[in-house]
């Protein structure tokens, strides 16, 4: 199946998708664990949580993620974009290993390997499902002459 390769700019947008999501989630987690337990009886406390610094930074990063995610979805399949999101976890794990010098267990190295393999699998395939836009594309080339011949015989 012939398909257009993504441009460098499109790969950069997928990179933004990958990096902003896990960083934003980490900020949210850090912010939420510092708050007292929130119950459904007082939902307004969830709204107040949005204005605490870590959660605000997390939300800013997630807005950046969402803008690039929407752009990516406009030219690629959901099942193509989602593994890119998951690859962000690998980037964060590698950053924490080589930048923050945090140890990574064998279990996590296995996780990194599996995600990288999965992303590699998807990235090699087409980024967008090809859909026939008009009637003529729904016929295979080998069938077309037969159809034309039948129509000529009918005339």
């Amino acid at each position: 199946m012939a398909h257009e390769r993504l441009s460098a700019r499109q790969y950069m947008i997928l990179g933004f998708v990958a990096v902003c999501a896990p960083l934003g989630d980490t900020c949210l987690s850090r912010g939420m664990t510092r708050l007292p337990p929130i119950t459904l009886a007082h939902p307004a406390t969830l709204i107040a949580a949005v204005f605490t610094p870590w959660i605000a930074v997390g939300i800013a990063l997630l807005i950046g993620f969402f803008a690039s995610y929407l752009t990516a979805l406009s030219w690629a399949d959901l099942t193509y974009v989602l593994p890119a999101t998951a690859f962000g976890n690998v980037i964060v794990a590698l950053l924490s290993r080589f930048w923050l010098q945090e140890p990574i267990s064998l279990e996590r190295w296995t996780g990194i390997l599996l995600i990288t393999l999965g992303v590699g699998f998807v990235a090699q395939g087409p980024s967008l499902t090809e859909r026939p836009t008009d009637g003529e594309q729904s016929f295979s080339p080998s069938k077309e002459p037969a159809v034309q011949l039948e129509q000529e015989q009918l005339r």
């Binding site: 399949d77 959901l78 998951a86 996780g111």
Partner: protein, 135 residues
Amino acid sequence: MIIPYPAPQPGVWAATAMIAAIVLTSTAGEVLTAAAMKSIGDLDEIRAHSGLKGAIRAVLTCPLFFAGVSFLALAFFALLFALNHLNLSLVAPASASLTLVTNAIAAKFFLKENVDRRRWTAAVLVCIGVYLLAH
């Protein structure tokens, strides 16, 4: 100053319900958003023709987009709620890995995406990988 406050851990069923709520709402949100973006067309091309304002207008005037964002907002608050009651080491891997598989299923049936063997393999590999990495 905010003092860390350890929350009591809820039971298995409550934890399952919290994670299921995140998975279902985020799958619905992502599929609806993807459908919206496909109906709008290539945002890069729209921006090239009618500028950033035109691209933002194209997104904000699409009703499907608002349906998707509503579900994503529900998923976001379900995540905040769950993070307040459960450990991140449970919520993050469980919801992220399950969402990958439910999204692949939903993309095949609702978006009619060509989820071939390559993409199924990738969804399962990434699902296990995310679980191992975030656990």
